[in-house]
Amino acid sequence: MSSEVRPYTLVAELTYKCPLRCVYCSNPLDYGRHADEVDTGTWLRVFQEAEDLGVVQLNLTGGEPLIRHDLEALIEEAHRLDLYTNLITGGIPLTVERLTRFRALGLDNVQLSIQDVRAGASDRIAGLRSFDRKLEVARWAKNLGFPLTINVVLHRDNLDRVADVIALAEDLSADRLELANAQYVGWALQNRAALLPTREQLERARAIAAAARARLRGTMEILFVTPDYYSEFPKACMDGWGRRFVVVSPDGLVLPCHAAHTLPGLEFESVRQRALGDIWRDSPGFNAFRGEAWMPEPCRSCDRRAIDFGGCRCQAFHLTGKAAVTDPACRLSPDHGLIEAARAQALEAAGRAMPLEYRARTVSLRG
């Protein structure tokens, strides 16, 4: 392992609790089993250890980070450590007073998720009436001088309204708009039949986003994240396993990606027992898929292996039952048929309403 490997970003998942119940939530399906949350003092120590390790960016996320009453203390310490701190939130529960405090304490960026541009559809995906309040939160953030990122997860039901989504983000004076197609792990995989769009839908939305990106260059940054299911090759998940990101789960597990603890047979350690830097460097879970030694064919002899690192381990596992295989999203993967079948299913189901399974604690404790 090269000694230069250092994380740039700490993803602090402060809690899996959330008032919303998004049908594509990326929290693990068994999140209810990780309810024993790390305390304030431990988080403060983790921030310091992360900074020592080379981390310069901090994402405060969850679940819903606003649920944590100690968020003020965490932001204050992050600011003291000169970490670029981004609050990733659904905006509920929040008051303008609390957001004002966050500003004074040095929070750098607010990233707000909105589920759709129509209140009804947004609330349907979130499983809670929340749309109007979210817009209010966006306005507070801008009035307080925060840079604002709007994040919208795209799927079959809202992809055709991308132009309206962009207009809404412009209207809110967002600095950055993330149009992130759902990635089918976690709850989104459960709901894939209801969420996966058709290729045609996706291409139309992509063209609209590209035109808006050119028009708004220098004013609002627009990011369009394609779903793996319609790319030839997978994305470099997390920029590669254990390369630039370090995730700490609400119960203190140090992970290379937010779903790594759903992979069987891997050992991950907790910040409760060991320093972050030691875990980052030599925990077996971190080293399992670092570098190229683990790679099977076709990755092993593929020119793209230093670009996409063989794709997503979680996607590989959840689709094939094996984590150490080429991501099926890659067209060179022997399991690529699984992806083609899902695409065919999406085409066949186009226009039909499908049942949704909401993220819920009872479901997460099942089985």
């Binding site: 250092r6 740039y8 080379g54 310069v56 960016q57 000169d82 670029y84 981004n86 750098d108 960026n109 990233q111 001088g145 925060f146 840079p147 990122t149 600095d175 950055r176 028009r215 260059r217 220098g218 004013t219 609002m220 940054e221």
Partner: protein, 101 residues
Amino acid sequence: MGAPGRPRVISAESRPRLAEKARLRFDRKAQQYLLLFPERGLALNPTAAEILKLCTGEHTVEAIIERLLETYDTQPREAVEREVVAFLAGMAERGLVKAGR
């Protein structure tokens, strides 16, 4: 620089400042400055860092060039001018620097 329709082009009189979302930070590990913004960062060479440190909204582009000439006095003025303006235009295009007045 700056195609038609782009917001506020950088000129010699503008007083550029970092965008709200962007922040400079010295990186001890790599011994260089980083420009940080949501989800990403740019590693800066010493000249780029020098320029961005002066992007506070107080200094005109002209004044920034003067300052750089003090440090890089072996370089012809036109070369420094061209480099600074091109760099700032690129940063503005990415929304990381605002032209100011």
